[in-house]
C-alpha cells in the first residue's frame, strides 16, 4: 500500500496537519458505517505516516509487509487509467492480437 496515494497527498508531504486533514477528509468521504473496508485502509495509511517518527521509520526501514509479497509490491504501482486517444486503440484493432 502506498499511504500517500491512499490519502491522496503528494509523496513529499511532511506536514502532520496536512496528513491529518487528508485522513479526516477520507473519514468524511468514506465513513466506517458505509465503507468499512475503505475506512480501514485509510486508517492504516494514516497510521503509517501520521507523524515524523512513523514517516522516518517507513522511509528508513521500509514497509515490512512488502518483503516476500510480490503482489503487495506490484500494488505499490497501481496502473493508472489515462485516456490514450483513439489512434492507439485503432492501431490495436487494425493490427490484430499479436
Amino acid at each position: 500500500m502506498n499511504p500517500y496515494r491512499v490519502l491522496g497527498i503528494p509523496e513529499d508531504t511532511n506536514d502532520d496537519d496536512i496528513i491529518r486533514h487528508a485522513w479526516l477528509e477520507g473519514v468524511r468521504r468514506h465513513p466506517p458505517e458505509k465503507e468499512p473496508e475503505r475506512f480501514a485502509r485509510n486508517r492504516e495509511a494514516y497510521e503509517m505516516i501520521r507523524d515524523r517518527e512513523a514517516r522516518f521509520r517507513l522511509w528508513t526501514f521500509g514497509d515490512p509487509r512488502l518483503q516476500d509479497d510480490v503482489d503487495a509490491l506490484v500494488d505499490l504501482f497501481p496502473a493508472e487509467r489515462n485516456h490514450a486517444g483513439p489512434a492507439l486503440w485503432l492501431a490495436v484493432i487494425r493490427g490484430g492480437a499479436r
Binding site: F61, L66, L73, A79, E80, W89, A91
Partner: protein, 759 residues
C-alpha cells in the same frame, strides 16, 4: 545425363516443386517471387493456377498481419493478370478490399437490399470493420441509411471515450445501435472503455464478455481484460504494448518486470535477474519517490543473496559512497536473517550522528529498530535454524548501551515508553543503570520508578525504595503495581526497623501506611495493625491488641506470624470459633500474608486446629491449609488436606495435585508415582491455563534425574486414575534419614523445597 537433370543438380529442385514447398512452409513472400519465375519459365494454365494460389496465400497472410492496403494491391494485380483463374478466390479477393477499408461495393448493394439481403451483407461486413470512419464517410451509402448513422455515432463516441469521460447523455445514444448491426460489438467496446475509465471493472467485464469475437473490436477487448484483471503478461502485439503503457503510465510493464524478477530469483537465474533489474532500475528516475524507495528496500534483500555489494550498487544505481548504502546493507542483513544486523544498524546511526547527517531523534528511531531486530534474533538463541547464525562471545549487541544512547538522543516519554520490552534483556546492574538514566531524563515517568522499586524488593534494598516511594506519592502514581510495591516495601522496611528495635521510626512509617487504607484489604490492614502493635509503646498497645482480637482467627494468625518473625513471645488468647469460622479465618489470614509477600511459618498450632474439620473445608481453604502446612513441615495435615481436596475435585484440582506431588517428593514414595502426579497436575494446569502451576510442575519435573520428555500426553482417564489412587492412598512414612544428596546442583534442590506460593 539430360539437360533437366543437370539443371536440377545445379539449382536444386525445380521451380514448381520449390514453390509448393514454400507454400507448404507458409513462406508466402518467397512463394510469390517463385510463382513469377514459374510463370516465366513454364507458361501455361497449371503454372498460372499455382501462381494465383501463391498470390492468394500472400493476400491471406497480409490480411492476418493487418496490412489490408498491401493485400488489396496484390488482389488488384491478380484480378488484372489472371482473370481466368479467379473463381476459387473471389471471396478472398473481396476480403482484401474490405481489409483495406474499401466497402463501396457492398455498401452500394445495401442501398436497395431487402431486409434479408441486408442482414447477409452486414454479417459479411462484421469481421472487417477496423475503423468506423470509412463507412461513416462513404458516399456509396445513403446518409440516412441506419448503418451510416451507426457508423457516425460509433466514430464520434469512440473518439470521445478514448479521450475523456463521456457524459451519460452521450452514452445513452448508443441505445440506437441495432443488436444485429456490425457495429454492435463496437457499441459494447465503447461501453467497456467508458466503464474502464470510471473504474467500474465489473461493467468492463460484462461488456467485454459480450463482444462477438469475429469483430476486430474483440482485439481491443483483450487489452481491456489485461488492464483490469491484473493478469500476468499475456501475448501482446507491439500496438497493444504501446496502448497499455500509455494508459497505465508505464506501471503495468513495471509490475510485470517485478514479477519476472521475483520468478528469476526463485529460480536462482542470475543472468535473468541482472537483466530484469537493469530494466527496472531504468524506471527508478521516473517513479514516485516513496514507491521507488520501497521497491529498492524490498528488492535489495532478494538480490543481496545473489550479488556482492559492488554489483548491487551498480544494479540499483547507487553510488558506493552514498550514505544510503549503510542502510541498504543493514536492511539486507536484517531481512535475510544474517547475524549482527542489529549492530550494523547501531553503527550506521552512530556514524551519521557523528557526521551530523542525522538528527538525534532519527538516531533514536534507528537504535530502537536495532533493539527490535536483536529481539527477533533472540527468537533462535541457539542458532538452530542456521548453524552459521551465532553471535560470537563479546559481539552481541550491548542492549544497555543502546538503551542509554536512546535515552541520551531523545528523552521523550513517547520514545522511552518503547524501551519497556527491552528491559527484560538486562541484568540487574545494567537495569539499575539504565533505569536511573531514564529517571534522570524523564523524572515523572512511572515505568522506571516502578521497575526500580521492583529491583529494590528483589535485592532487599529498602532504604533505596523509600525515597522512590515518596516521589511516587508526590507524582500521584496510579500504577497498580506501584501500590502493591509501595505496600510491600514499606512493610519490609517497617519489619527491618522493628527487628533493629527502632520502634519509633517503624511506627512513623506504619502510620503513613495506615493513613492510606484504600491501598490494602481489610485482612492486610490486620497485618499493619499487628506491626503497629509491635512498634507501639505499652500504653497504646492494649488498644491495638483489642482491635486485632476483634478480627478473630485471621487476627490471631497474623499476630502469631508477626510475633514469630520478630522473636516475640506473645499470642492472643485462643479464640473459640465455629469450624467454618476457623477454616475461613485461616484461609483469609494466609491469603493476606501471601499478598504482601509473607510466607506463614509461625502458626502450625493454629493450622492443626483445622485438621478435625477438613471435611467441611472448601477447595480454596484446603489449598491454603495444605500450602502452609507443607512449608511448616506439618506433612500429615498437608496430606490430609490434599486428600480431601482430591476428593472434592473442582476447578483447582491441578493445584491440589501439585501439593500432593510436593509432599511425595519429601517422602520415600515411588518416584515414578510422583512424576505421574506432577504430569497430571501439569496437563490439568495447561487445560485450565494456570500458568503458575504449569511452570512449577515443569520445574519439578526437570528435578527428576531420569526425566525424559515424552510426547505422549496423559489422557483424561490416566489423570482420573492418578487422582483416584492419590485420594485414597496412605502417606508413605516420612524419611528418617536425610535424603541422599541429589546429583543435580543444589539450586534445583532448593527450588524443590520451596513452597508453591513462596516468593
Amino acid at each position: 545425363m539430360g539437360k533437366r537433370h543437370r539443371n536440377q543438380r545445379q539449382h536444386g529442385p525445380d521451380t514448381r516443386t520449390r514453390l509448393e514447398q514454400l507454400l507448404a512452409k507458409g513462406d508466402t513472400r518467397a512463394a510469390v517471387e517463385t510463382a513469377k519465375l514459374l510463370v516465366r519459365e513454364q507458361p501455361g494454365t497449371a503454372s498460372e493456377e499455382l501462381a494465383v494460389r501463391a498470390y492468394a496465400e500472400r493476400i491471406r497472410a497480409l490480411i492476418a498481419e493487418g496490412l489490408g492496403r498491401e493485400a488489396a494491391a496484390i488482389a488488384a494485380i491478380v484480378r488484372e493478370r489472371y482473370p481466368a483463374h479467379l473463381s476459387p478466390w473471389t471471396s478472398l479477393l473481396d476480403d482484401a478490399r474490405f481489409a483495406a477499408g474499401d466497402f463501396d461495393s457492398i455498401l452500394s448493394e445495401l442501398r436497395d437490399a431487402s431486409d434479408e439481403r441486408r442482414a447477409v451483407l452486414e454479417e459479411r461486413l462484421l469481421p472487417w470493420i477496423v475503423d468506423p470512419a470509412p463507412i461513416a464517410n462513404s458516399v456509396a451509402l445513403a446518409p440516412a441509411d441506419p448503418l451510416a448513422s451507426e457508423a457516425r455515432l460509433v466514430a464520434r463516441l469512440f473518439e470521445t471515450v478514448t479521450s475523456r469521460i463521456a457524459t451519460p447523455e452521450e452514452m445513452a445514444a448508443l441505445g440506437d445501435i441495432r443488436r444485429r448491426s456490425p457495429f454492435a460489438p463496437w457499441k459494447l467496446l465503447i461501453r467497456a472503455i467508458d466503464a474502464f475509465h470510471r473504474h467500474d471493472d465489473d461493467r468492463v467485464a460484462a461488456n467485454v464478455g459480450a463482444i462477438d469475437v469475429r469483430s476486430p473490436a474483440a482485439r481491443a477487448a483483450a487489452v481491456l481484460t489485461q488492464l483490469t484483471a491484473a493478469a500476468s503478461k499475456g501475448p501482446r502485439s507491439f500496438a497493444a504494448e504501446r496502448l497499455i503503457d500509455r494508459i497505465s503510465g508505464g506501471h503495468a510493464t513495471l509490475g510485470a518486470q517485478i514479477r519476472s524478477l521475483h520468478a528469476a530469483s526463485s529460480q536462482d537465474d542470475r543472468r535473468r535477474m541482472r537483466e530484469e533489474m537493469r530494466a527496472l532500475s531504468r524506471s527508478f528516475d521516473t517513479l514516485p519517490p516513496y514507491a521507488c524507495e520501497q521497491l529498492r528496500l524490498a528488492l535489495l534483500p532478494i538480490l543481496g543473496i545473489h550479488f556482492g555489494p559492488e554489483q548491487l550498487a551498480g544494479l540499483f544505481r547507487i553510488g558506493e559512497r552514498d550514505p544510503a548504502m549503510g542502510r541498504y546493507g543493514a536492511t539486507i542483513m536484517e531481512v535475510t536473517g544474517m547475524p549482527f544486523a542489529d549492530g550494523i544498524w547501531v553503527a550506521y546511526a552512530d556514524g551519521l550522528l557523528e557526521e551530523r547527517k542525522l538528527e538525534p531523534w532519527q538516531a533514536a528511531e534507528i537504535y530502537l529498530h536495532a533493539l527490535a531486530t536483536a529481539g527477533e534474533d533472540d527468537d533462535d538463541p541457539f542458532g538452530c535454524t542456521d548453524p552459521t547464525h551465532e553471535h560470537p562471545a563479546g559481539e552481541q549487541l550491548d542492549t544497555a548501551r543502546v538503551i542509554e544512547k536512546i535515552i541520551a538522543s531523545r528523552p521523550a516519554p513517547a520514545v522511552l515508553d518503547r524501551l519497556t520490552p527491552h528491559l527484560e534483556q538486562l541484568d540487574k546492574k545494567e537495569l539499575r543503570r539504565v533505569l536511573t538514566a531514564w529517571r534522570k531524563a524523564d523524572p515523572d515517568a512511572p515505568v522506571p520508578l516502578v521497575r526500580l522499586l521492583r529491583l529494590a524488593e528483589q535485592e532487599h534494598r529498602y532504604d533505596e525504595a523509600l525515597p522512590l516511594i515518596r516521589q511516587g506519592d508526590r507524582m500521584k502514581t496510579i500504577d497498580p503495581e506501584y501500590a502493591r510495591l509501595r505496600l510491600r516495601l514499606s512493610l519490609r522496611k517497617a519489619e527491618q526497623l522493628l527487628a533493629a528495635k527502632k520502634r519509633e521510626a517503624a511506627a512513623s512509617l506504619l502510620a503513613e501506611l495506615a493513613a492510606r487504607p484504600e491501598d490494602f484489604s481489610e485482612d492486610v490492614a490486620a497485618y499493619v495493625l499487628a506491626l503497629q502493635w509491635a512498634a507501639a509503646p505499652p500504653a497504646a498497645a492494649g488498644e491495638l491488641l483489642a482491635q486485632l482480637a476483634q478480627r478473630g482467627v485471621t487476627g490471631e494468625l497474623i499476630l502469631a506470624e508477626v510475633t514469630g518473625a520478630l522473636g516475640m513471645q506473645f499470642a492472643l488468647p485462643a479464640s473459640h470459633p465455629s469450624p467454618e469460622e476457623l477454616l475461613e479465618g485461616v484461609r483469609r489470614g494466609i491469603t493476606a500474608l501471601h499478598s504482601i509477600g509473607v510466607t506463614p511459618r509461625h502458626s502450625p498450632w493454629l493450622l492443626e486446629r483445622t485438621k478435625p474439620h477438613l471435611d467441611r473445608a472448601d477447595e480454596r481453604q484446603l489449598l491454603a491449609i495444605a500450602g502452609v502446612a507443607l512449608v511448616c513441615g506439618a506433612t500429615d495435615l498437608a496430606w490430609a488436606a490434599t486428600a480431601r481436596g482430591l476428593e472434592l475435585g473442582g476447578p483447582l484440582l491441578q493445584r491440589t495435585l501439585l501439593f500432593r506431588a510436593e509432599i511425595l517428593i519429601g517422602t520415600p514414595a515411588d518416584r515414578i508415582r510422583t512424576l505421574a502426579v506432577i504430569k497430571a497436575a501439569q496437563v490439568l494446569a495447561q487445560r485450565a491455563h494456570d500458568s503458575d502451576i504449569v511452570a512449577r510442575a515443569t520445574e519439578l519435573e526437570h528435578g527428576f534425574f531420569f526425566f525424559r520428555r515424552s510426547e505422549q500426553r496423559l489422557s483424561s482417564d490416566d489423570i482420573a486414575a492418578i487422582v483416584d489412587h492419590e485420594r485414597t492412598a496412605a502417606m508413605p512414612a516420612p524419611r528418617t534419614q536425610p535424603r541422599k544428596k541429589a546429583t543435580r546442583k543444589s539450586k534445583s534442590k532448593r527450588k524443590k523445597e520451596r513452597g508453591l506460593f513462596e516468593p
